[in-house]
């Protein structure tokens, strides 16, 4: 197995997650869309902290900024912070059962959304709709399935 292989799978899944994140959805469904890109980046920073790590988080966040951020660097900062936490604690998180992992993901999503929210406020694009917090819940709920899927499809050595 070459060293570049997991990196390739990582980039592929990240790209797919980015597409899922920007895919147009009906407006009533849009706030409930899980943050696929954040989940994928979290997965890879826990499963292979060496391969992507904080750089992956930062660049994924920058792409998110291009697509939907009012300020460049906003999602990049938030995502690199929770990627850092995940990379640091990856061994502890790995050993937890799926439900507890989902709780950790919920906490990470809350931190992420709070940073985005704070920067929104700082840059004068404040939106205080409660709908913006909805995807922290849906992301946590979908985490066990997303992690299992990624492990089955891409995580194993071939």
């Amino acid at each position: 197995m070459s060293a570049s292989e997991p990196r390739f799978r990582m980039l592929l899944t990240t790209l797919v997650a980015l597409v899922l994140t920007v895919l147009p959805l009906p407006p009533w469904l849009d706030p409930a869309r899980p943050a696929f890109l954040v989940l994928t980046v979290l997965y890879w920073s826990i499963a292979a902290p060496r391969a992507g790590g904080i750089a992956l988080g930062w660049f994924a966040g920058l792409m998110l900024d291009v697509f939907q951020g009012p300020v460049l660097g906003q999602h990049a900062l938030a995502l690199s912070l929770i990627t850092y936490i995940a990379v640091r604690e990856h061994q502890k998180i790995r050993s937890k059962p799926a439900f507890q992992q989902a709780l950790i993901v919920f906490a990470a999503m809350a931190i992420y959304e709070f940073i985005v929210f704070a920067i929104d406020g700082w840059s004068g694009h404040l939106v205080t709709s409660p709908a913006r917090w909805l995807h922290t819940l849906t992301s946590a709920a979908i985490w066990p399935f997303a992690a299992a899927f990624l492990t089955n499809r891409y995580g194993r050595s071939s």
Binding site: V19, G53, T151
Partner: protein, 374 residues
Amino acid sequence: MAAFGTGTGRQLHRGGSPGFRFTLYALLSIVVMFLDERSHWLESARYVLQSAAYPIQLAVSSPSAAWTWLQESFQTRDALRAENNRLRAQQRSMEMRSMRFEALERENAQLRGLRQALPPVADHWLVAEVVNVQLNSLRQRVLLNRGTTNGVFKGQAVMDETGLLGQTLHVGPWSTEVILITDPEHAVPVEIERTGLRTIAVGAGDTASLALPYLPANADVKTGDLLLTSGLGGVFPAGYPVARISEVHRDAVQPLAQVRAAPLAHVDLDREVMLVWFREASPAAPGPAAMTDTPTGNPLLQPQTAPPRPAAVPAPAEGSIPAAPGGKKPDAPRASSTAPSAEPATKPAPATKPAAPATAPRPRPDASPPAVPQ
């Protein structure tokens, strides 16, 4: 490699510890944010990133585009013929309506005291296709398949055949992000067609309504009033239809009326929109963001019936008018009942002088288009 089995401590620290690298990236993000928010140094970076993002956006929109294409190609002959008939009837009624247009224009010019009729304000336009749509309560944006290679510039007006749609915000080489008039961060200077009262229409975050938050409770506004662009603000020319007042609430304890308007453009249905270039010499062209007393050039364009401009145009105050319709209003007169007529300072009392200042020729900004919302 096992799924959860890589990254022993030593290898993890290659290229600095995670903490060090995180600090680096966090600093980088903060620098990027500052540069993007406070200056325009990152426009070129955004340009590159946007062109990199365009293929993804195209791919994302391809299923719905394919579906539309399929629907169109399986339309029956009858449906096509019906549509053709309908379009022909429409064209005939348009021609009937525009038949008197030139005569009316000449008459209008005479009434205004101009010696010759003025060319229409719209110079030419470009049809663009909507590639990607973001319509939620936080962001109302669409992506068009035209960019700088087609001559599109930042702060350009976007319309459909029924009314104003928005303005370009980030222009890439092949794509352009458009902020719609319904975006909560967008505001367009308008005037009420019936009375000439000028105010500002702010996006309300859904495709069906605009808010007019700066009208006093006793303002002369009724349901059904048409809102036109006022030509102030430097982006949109005067006189283009924007919206129709849909509801007016007057509360005895509130100094301001709560007014909503429904945009005329089909904000959520459009697949094709128009990017418009305006003739700069036309008096209806968008006024400059920062008013300076430069000579207006063609003396023929001076309206003779308009009141003479005060010699000391308070230039700095005028310049402080939020440059773009989308710009945040500095200290919007929300709470103050003394100056609720939206256009801060320098404007005459609303409703008393209907259209005169709006038709007065304005010097063009010789610089790039004015700042647009970030």
